[in-house]
Every structure is written in C-alpha cells, then in structure tokens.
Amino acid sequence: MTLYALVALIGPLLAAFVLVGLLCPTEGLGLRGLLLRVSLTVGLAFGLSSCGFFLWLVMVGAPGRAFAPVELTGMLALSVGLLVAGRHRKRSAIAPPDCAVAEDARMGVHLLRGLCLVLVLSVAAFVLMTCAAPHGSWDGWAIWNLRARFLFRGGGRWADGFSEYLAWSHPDYPLLLPASIARFWSYLGVETTMVPAAVAMLFTFATVGLAGASVSILRGRSQGLLAGLTLLGTGYYVRHGAYQYADTPLSFFVLAAVVLLCLRKRASQTNRGLVFLAGMMMGFAAWTKNEGLLLVASIIVAHLAIHLRRRALTTCIRHVFWLLLGAAPILGIVTYFKLSVAPANDLLSAQGFQATLGRLCGVSRYAQVGEFLLRRFISYGEGMPFVLAACFLLLGRNPNLRDRRGIALALIVLFLMLSGYFLVYVVTPHDLAWHLRTSAKRLFLHLFPTAVFVFFMLVATPEEASRRPARTHRQ
C-alpha cells in the first residue's frame, strides 16, 4: 500500500515540480526558492491530477486497472516533455528581497527556532485532531468525503453523487478535493481515511510554506519566518485544516495566484510564465469551490483597474490574455462540470428577480451583514487582528515599498472578494442569520493567508525597524 501511495503521489508531483520550475524561476533564491517551488508543486499536483481523474471518469468511465499506468505514463511523459522544452529557455530570475537593511542572522536563527517549535506543535495538534475525527468535521465528511466516496465506490454510476436527492450536500460544488481523494483511493484500491487527512495536511502546511517563502523572497528571511509563524499561530487555521474542508485548499490557490502576480513584478524581464501559472492557480481555485470563480473575476478586474489607471492598455490585454490562457483549460472543465454533471446551485436557483431585488433594497440586511462580518473579523483567529495591529505599531510601515503595484493588486483582489461575499449574504435566499453564522468565519479563512502575505509586505522587517530612531512614549 505504501508503494502504491508513493506511486500515486510521484507522477503528478514530478510533473508539477518540473512545470513550476519552468514557469517560476527560483534559481539563485536558495532554500526560500526551493520552499516556494515545493509549496506551489503541492497545489499544482493536486489540481492537475484531479482534473485528469475527472476527465477519465467522463471520457472512459470508472477508473479500472488501466487508470494508474496510463496516468502515470502521461505524467512522466509530461515531465520529460517539459524538461526538454525548458532546457534552452531563457530564464528570468526574480530579484532579491527589498529589505532596506541587511538581514540579521541572529534574529533569523532565533525566529527559525521559534518557527520549528511552533511547527512541531501544529503538526502534533493536526495529527491528534485527525486521530479524534479521521473522517474530518461535519462538512468534511458530509460534503467532500461523501462526494469522493461516490466517485470511488460508484464505478459506472459515479454521477449518482450529483443527484437532486443530495441537494443538502451541495452537489454543485466543484471537484478538486473529492477527485484528488478518489484518485488516490483508486491507486490504492481501497478506501482509507489517511488519504483525505494527508491531502488536508499537505494543503495546510503548503499554504504556510508558500506564505513564508514568498514573503521571504520579497521582503527578507525574518519577515518570511514571521509570516509563517502568524499563519501557524492562528489556531483556527490549523484546526480548520484538520477539518478536511475545501476552504484551506481554496485559501492556498488564492494566495498562490496573488503571490505569483507579485513575483512577476520582480522578474528581471517580462515573465509570462508567472502570469500563466497564476492563471492556472486561479483556475484551480474555481475547481475547488464556487467562491474560486469570484477570485477569477476579482483578479481580472484588479488587473484592469491597475493597468488602465496607468493607461497601459496593451500591457493589460497581454496580462489578462496570459492569465486566461493558464486558467482556460481548467475553467473549461469547471464549465463542463457545471453544465453537464452538477445540479443548479442552491443560492442561484432560489433567486427570483422580485425577491432578489427586495433583498437588495433591504437596508437592514446590509447593516446585519456588516455588523456580523465586523464582529467575526475582530474575533478572528483568537484576536490575531489585534496582534498584527500591535506589530504594525511596533515595527512601522515598510520604508522601501518596491512592490506597490503587486500590493495594490492583492488589496484590490481582497477588497473585491470581500465585497462579493458581502453581496452574496445580502441576497441569500437562506435565513440570513443562519447563513452568516455557519459560513462567515470560513470565508475569512479563504482570504486570511493572502491578508497575512499583504500585511508582511506592508510592514517593516525587524531589521528595518531596528534601524529606526527611538520613539518617545508617555508612561
């Protein structure tokens, strides 16, 4: 079984690792570059393999004995093809961090020790929570693992899992997570709770790795370690990872798309590969949860806003083209799934023009949503916003803001996604109080790693803050 598990992992991981290397140049970035590449590889591998598994189900049928060898051969061929194609490709390196002062090696070592300790505790907590609830928490088993069971156990009748009878389990939700789990089970030939738990763990810690590595590349090692610590130090984030929900993978793809677009600004020449890869991540977000479609729209609108403000129409069209080119095959699969397999979405199908208009005009609903989201934000992650506010006051702002456009793009994306969520609540056909109570915290989780990334881009590094003159405080 261990051998099959390794084989199931190695094909897509190898292909994704090569593809990331080809599109996202990490040479000269040392360990942080490797961490970035490995973290992106995790998401890309699950994204690619889940799409492949779904296409197999649709075109061939139940994954029988032929599935594993055919898929593995395909992935290996893709890896070799990419290696050959990328051999003579001109590389565009990413510029080093823009930390205004040299990195403090001692501070880095202390922080690394702290991070390692917190990481050990987080992994232990994750493992214990998984032992206590191996099928995950409510939505984990009632939605995502249930769908994986239909895909794996259903054989030729896998589409039964999208029956109207199962409307309570949201059969219109996209399949990145269920298909990844079912694919793994198909390789193993048996169902085991280890698989969804391992997928959840990989996504949770790959997100931490991605946030840490990207901030480290853009702002310096100490800052990257602090970003990783912040994510690991948010108990809700780690706990939610162990729940086996799709919110954590979605948060990974939101962060990945934003990070890649920020890194593009640092590439030494116009790097289409990074934009293309960001497009893929954006597509995989839409293949993970319906909210991912909002990310696609938000990123495109953010691009338009930034480039059109600079009157750079040609650059704007070129960027959006490469973004959409990366996302197109995945969005094609999402579209096929939505049109041919999934039933209608409960939020959309229950909307009537008059009723929706009535809800949109109800001022009290805006107030209720606003107040609830504000309260949730303040209490998020056991008061993490206050901790970050205190850090901002102590460290000050980034004195050498080089990535203005990247940060502006990330902020616009966060704003648009929050606005989208806000509007969905306003027009929801469900009981508003129930809808808010059961989902608001998870929606913040989608954006939390990206918000942490932006925060550490905007705040001064400990080294920069150390160089600042003393401030006088009244006692």
Binding site: A124, L128, L146, R157, L229, G235, P469, H473, R474
Partner: protein
Amino acid sequence: MMKLNGPIRAKIAVGILVLVALISNIRLLSRTLRSHPDLFAADEITRHEDRLAEVKECLPSYGVVGYAGDEHFGDREQEMSFYATQYALAPLIVVNAIDREWVVGCFRGDALLPQTGAGSDLILVKDLSNGVRLFRRRMK
C-alpha cells in the same frame, strides 16, 4: 517618559508573535486532548458505519433507499444520523422518506415505523438490535 528604541520595538514585536503562536498551538493541543480523552477510540462516524455494516450487505449496490429516524428529526443528533447514514451507504442514495422499496431505520429505542400510509407495506427484514433496522416493501 519611556524611550523605546528601534531594536527593542522590533524584539517586542517578534516576541509577541512567537509567544502568541506558541500559546495558540499549546491551547489547540490541550483543547484537543481534553475534548477527546480517548483519542484512538472509534469516532462517531466510524461507529455509525460499523452499526450499518451488516445492513449494507443486504441492500442493492445502487439506487435510492429510504431512511427513517426517530420522530423528532431536526435536532442535531438526528440530522447527523441521517447524513452519516448517507455517508456510510454511498454510492446508494439515501432519502429521508419511507416510500421506497428498502428503508433503513436508525432509532434510539424500540420505536417502530408507522403502520399507516407508506409504512403499512413495510416488513422488518433485519433488526440488528443496536437501533438499526432494515425494512422492505411487501410485494403486491
């Protein structure tokens, strides 16, 4: 008046973040251990699956089967029982109704199906004496 110079401010900020991260994870660990004193015992979902294992063998491989729970369906426990039954019996589709050929009953006590309406044609096929009962519609 107190002067906080740059290095001290930076150290306080870093210290706060490290401390918060440590406390948060220690709390997470202790909460998990406290709420699950016997971590390696079977969880609720696994226990429900085990209860249904024998019934599953008698059911067809595909199709739609009915479900009957305790009368007061709607409280969290009953809701969970229905969803967990669906989870255990997939790829069968389970509907919360008794107008099907096969009906899986998950009861707390000795409750029985109503013997009127859709329930009047159902005969008990299996009673696992753990609250799980399997019914089948009498062929006319």
